[in-house]
């Protein structure tokens, strides 16, 4: 089996338009959540979100590109450009033929759907732009990355709601580890912050109207975000041979399904995913120093996640740190695991643990070190990233410091 290095990272999200801005914001405990800016916001019961601000796609993409790129595709391409530039890789010949893109995404081109539903239902028009389908299909972002960077190997999109990115990155990891592909571009993108997207989430009654406070006794729900995170997963020998800067090593993963409920999380399903990732990576539980939690800020997720971690780690659960960066960048749904992987990389590489901000009051059902409100310096060797999706689909990744 091959070892897998991360040799590039890129992002755009509510905390920043690139990796350094995002990590800086995480270190400072900045909150990217604010009043939503969109048409008909006054008709929404939930009026906050973590939107990407100061964003002018027309300065980044030309008219023909914009006609084909939904906002989630724009986010994915911006992130991929940063990640590929960092890695220094260019794809031609055999490398191009075998390398591909696996991205996570849940909703597809929601902005495109929303706008065009308005056109036909609200405005009563009988004609929509011919690119609606290629713009909204949820593989559009993966396809445009493959085209821009000449990636001709396996490319597809994984949809498992809030675990999409982790499932995608696990898949990419497996492809590189097995020797199937020398390099895989992976991560996820989402842009669900449009009227219809927020309205749909409102219906479930799990959204907070004021803030995302994971693990705090005062938490009252999740807050949606948007953006993307994209990484370069590269076979370790290939990366070392060309002298690449290695951000971290991916050492294992596990996926489980609760097979129980379409929305309620399961302690067992989550703990099987966490222990499965440790087993796959050949790690002792004592080696884990940090977990980037799924930590949505809902009553159900946070207590279930904490009990799952307690089950897996036993006494070590009280020594490790676990934070939810969703308190800062919101819940990016199908893109969330990708942006959260950046917090794991920062913990391993820079020795800075991103905080859980908005933390107000201890909850006995979440009695772990959740790194409340302020980032912390700590030297750790292994980090996990949890994702537990609606539908009971769980995916956990394990990373090691290089």
């Amino acid at each position: 089996m091959k070892r897998v290095a991360i040799t590039g990272a890129g992002t755009i999200n509510a905390l920043g338009h690139n990796v350094s801005q995002t990590l800086e914001a995480m270190r400072e405990g900045h909150c990217g959540i604010g009043p939503l800016e969109m048409r008909d916001v006054d008709r929404l019961a939930v009026q906050i979100g973590a939107q990407v601000s100061d964003f002018s796609p027309d300065t980044i993409f030309n008219r023909q590109q914009l006609a084909l790129y939904d906002r989630f595709t724009q986010f994915a391409l911006i992130s991929a450009r940063e990640a590929l530039a960092y890695s220094g890789l260019e794809f031609s010949g055999a490398l191009s033929a075998k390398s591909g893109v696996v991205l996570g995404n849940s909703g597809g081109g929601m902005q495109t759907l929303d706008e065009n539903y308005r056109t036909v239902y609200e405005d009563g028009k009988n004609r929509v732009h011919p690119f609606v389908v290629p713009k909204l299909m949820n593989n559009a972002a993966a396809s445009h990355i493959s085209m821009e960077f000449n990636l001709k190997g396996p490319s597809f999109t994984v949809a498992s709601a809030c675990a999409s990115s982790n499932h995608a990155m696990a898949q990419a990891f497996q492809m590189v580890r097995s020797g199937m592909a020398p390099v895989m571009i992976t991560g996820g993108a989402e842009s669900m912050l449009c009227f219809g997207g927020v309205k749909a989430w409102e219906g479930l009654r799990v959204m907070s109207k004021d803030a995302c406070r994971p693990f705090s006794a005062t938490r009252n729900g999740m807050v949606q975000g948007e953006g993307a995170g994209v990484f370069v997963f590269e076979e370790m020998d290939h990366a070392e041979a060309r002298g690449a800067d290695i951000l971290a090593e991916v050492v294992g993963f596990a996926m489980t399904s609760d097979a129980a409920d379409i929305v309620m999380p399961s302690r067992q399903g989550a703990s099987r995913a966490i222990s499965g990732a440790l087993e796959d990576a050949g790690l002792n539980r004592e080696e884990v120093g940090y977990i980037n939690a799924h930590g949505t800020g809902t009553a159900a997720n946070d207590k279930t996640e904490c009990s799952a971690v307690a089950d897996v780690f036993g006494p070590h659960a009280d020594r490790l740190m676990m934070s939810s960066t969703k308190s800062m960048h919101g819940h990016l749904i199908g893109g969330t695991g990708a942006v959260e992987l950046l917090a794991c990389i920062m913990a391993l590489r820079d020795g800075v643990i991103a905080p859980t901000i908005g933390y107000e009051e201890a909850d006995p059902e979440c009695a772990l070190d959740v790194v409340p409100n302020e980032a912390r310096e700590a030297s750790i060797d292994v980090a996990l990233s949890n994702a537990f999706a609606f539908g009971g689909l769980n995916a956990v990744l394990a990373l090691r410091r290089v």
């Binding site: 023909q64 006609a67 004609r127 732009h129 011919p130 690119f131 290629p134």
Partner: protein, 87 residues
């Protein structure tokens, strides 16, 4: 602006050319407009003239709407406008 000038403007924009570079004899292929560009042009023309163009990308030859050159496209549009009842 005449139908001709408006069509040339739409086609030129799609081809990323100046309107003066588009001649009546130009074919879409000459102008570098591919199949996606063609359906986008048809959409833009429908929007501009509030007409519905009978065109199926699977069988462009058998469509009633002749897209073989700028001349035939303009003639087709003029016919459609003529046959569209005034609102």
């Amino acid at each position: 602006m005449s139908v001709k000038d408006r069509v040339i403007e739409i086609v030129a924009e799609q081809a990323v050319l100046e309107p003066s570079d588009v001649t009546m004899e130009s074919t879409l292929e000459d102008l570098g407009i591919d199949s996606l560009g063609l359906v986008e042009s048809i959409f833009a023309i429908e929007e501009e003239f509030d007409i519905s163009i009978p065109f199926n990308a699977n069988e462009p030859e058998s469509s009633e709407f002749d897209i073989s050159s700028v001349t035939t496209i303009i003639a087709g549009i003029e016919k459609l406008i003529e046959n569209t009842p005034a609102a």
